[in-house]
């Protein structure tokens, strides 16, 4: 249609699409799915890290971790707001999360088992997230692009903090170093999975890239992530759990093993280590909090009535 062509022209010219602009239904739907899933990931992502707040080993580490988890909840807010500009409310999105119709990033279905995991999550998981998100600052949809700009700023801060934990652990006692290595062993492949399956197996990618909802291919980003991370691991004195990892002079990047995609799809299906617990925690929080939300709503309705009555009386 002519509208679609005009729309694509605007995208191609690097113009931002704004909420009131015309947009193809598929574009809107894809964005809602992508932004919603990203928002859910921030919320669920509080859980594996929150798991160590009460056990953080120093007051400073506890404060940093609290600030980080707080930031994540904040990112959730930005993203739900961005999604709302597409006509879908936060509560609708949450309903879909709780009923299993919408997903969150599978990485959060892995447990945090020792303190170094908090380092690994910052270093690897936030690292991978940033790799995904930096290009999205240039995404075609205005509100999403602006949310990503704010988020990326904070995420890179988180990544540095995570790396700093890893550094302490890797340079610490033998037990600490073992924890650091164990964390890397467990989080390496799940982090590689965060970029999604190879693009040749992905149906939606081409259209999303044309719409600039997606900027790079999954494989490009994964390669970039590996190339960035390997020297960091070397600097820490840790070993990436991949026997096939080696520098490829020709492509000026590392060759590396693919993650176990069977595992990836199992986790997606709900069979990850923590899928059930993550959802139980979120659904419980939501259900236990119903009285709280109802209370606030009731109060604001009463307050509105009182104001209205006051206004009438004042006339």
């Amino acid at each position: 249609s002519p509208e679609e062509l005009a729309f694509q022209d605007r995208v191609d010219n690097g113009e931002k699409i704004e909420p009131k602009d015309w947009m193809p239904e598929g574009y809107r739907k894809t964005l809602v799915r992508q932004i919603g899933q990203h928002a859910h990931s921030e919320i669920v992502g509080q859980l594996p890290e929150g798991n160590w707040i009460t056990r953080a080993p120093t007051l400073e580490r506890k404060a940093i971790l609290l600030a980080k988890v707080q930031d994540e909840a904040g990112h959730g807010l930005y993203l739900y707001s961005a999604a709302e500009t597409l006509g879908v409310s936060r509560d609708e999105l949450l309903d879909k999360l709780h009923s299993g119709q919408m997903k969150y990033s599978s990485i959060f279905n892995y447990p945090t088992l020792n303190w170094a995991d908090i380092g690994a999550v910052g270093w690897l998981v936030d690292g991978a997230a940033i790799m995904n998100q930096v290009p999205l600052q240039r995404t075609s949809y205005g509100p999403y692009s602006r949310a990503m700009i704010r988020i990326c700023k904070e995420e890179s801060f988180h990544q540095r903090q995570g790396y700093s934990i890893m550094m302490k652990m890797a340079q610490g006692t033998p037990e600490q170093k073992a924890m650091a290595q164990d964390a890397l062993n467990r989080f390496w492949y799940p982090s590689l999975m965060m970029f999604g399956p190879s693009d040749k197996d992905s149906v939606h990618s081409a259209q999303s890239m044309a719409w600039k909802i997606k900027i790079n291919t999954n494989d490009e980003l994964r390669q970039k992530f590996v190339d960035q991370t390997v020297p960091q691991a070397e600097y820490l004195g840790l070993t990436i759990p991949d026997e096939n990892l080696k520098w490829n002079e020709e492509k000026q990047g590392y060759d590396f093993s693919q993650p176990d995609w069977t595992e990836f799809f199992e986790v997606l299906k709900g069979n990850g280590p923590c899928n059930q617990e993550r959802m139980e925690a979120r659904v419980k929080a939501w259900e236990d909090g119903a009285w709280f939300r109802d209370g606030l709503t009731a109060y604001s309705e009463k307050a509105a009535k009182r104001r209205a009555a006051g206004a009438v009386a004042a006339e």
Partner: protein, 250 residues
């Protein structure tokens, strides 16, 4: 000086333990804004802990850092109020506890900004900004939930009734308080009671909640190290890494 140390531990430990309890909500709050607010409150309180216990370590002069004090004392050495170590219960109990403490904390810090100890005054001034926001927020939520639905009202009243017997400890003077007051470092806790009660009555009134008739000073002892059974569990969790890997740097 031992009294000053003890008093600083009281300040720091109450901040630490309340911060711990509040932080347990992270990721489990009934609404995203509360996830953020709870993390923020906990963060502020941990910040205060660092300042109070840091100064306590200096005053003690035995080379103990804030972390040493937080992570390497057992329950009987902790000096926090019993109120702050109680389990979170539902969000109503958590918020009511926060409000009852905030109202006290705010008045106390206000007085401490005029402390004879410049270090205390400085810490108080920093903390006061944050605590003034804590009080604003917790008052507001107590009002809205108290005057919300029938259920939210009942939960807030139950929370208030449950916590009331723990509030008296905030205003119970003892020898440590007397010495610190004599030195002009801090007011006597009992001097804060009337102001606190006025604040509480005002907020509860607006919240349509009834002031409990039960005694307020039933559960004393936290300030001298006689706690509830809950504190031991908090510390076991909080101190695990420091205890299991002594001497490690993090």
């Amino acid at each position: 000086k031992p009294a000053f140390f003890d008093w600083l531990c009281r300040m720091g430990d109450s901040a630490l333990i309340l911060g711990h309890r509040v932080s347990e909500w992270c990721g489990h709050a009934p609404i995203l804004e509360e996830d953020i607010a709870m993390a923020n409150t906990a963060l502020d309180l941990i910040g205060h802990t660092q300042m109070w216990l840091g100064l306590a370590g200096e005053v003690e002069g035995a080379g103990r850092s804030a972390d040493d004090l937080a992570y390497l004392r057992d329950a009987a050495q902790f000096r926090n109020l019993k109120l702050v170590e109680l389990p979170n219960g539902d969000m109503g109990l958590t918020l009511m506890r926060q409000f009852l403490f905030d109202a006290f904390h705010y008045d106390l810090l206000t007085r401490l900004t005029r402390s004879a100890s410049p270090r205390v005054a400085e810490i108080a001034a920093k903390a006061l900004k944050e605590v003034s926001y804590h009080l604003e927020r917790s008052s507001d939520l107590v009002i809205r939930l108290g005057d919300g639905t029938e259920e939210s009202h009942a939960r807030m009243q139950a929370a208030l009734d449950r916590l009331w017997p723990y509030t008296g400890e905030m205003f119970a003077d003892d020898a440590v308080d007397a010495k610190v007051a004599e030195a002009g470092i801090a007011p006597l806790p009992s001097e804060l009671r009337d102001g606190w009660l006025a604040t509480v009555q005002e907020v509860l009134g607006e919240a349509t909640l009834a002031l409990p008739e039960a005694k307020a000073d039933v559960h004393l002892g936290g300030k001298t190290g006689r706690h509830t059974e809950h504190l031991g569990y908090i510390l076991a969790e909080m101190q695990f890494l420091q205890r299991a890997y002594p001497g490690a740097a993090w």
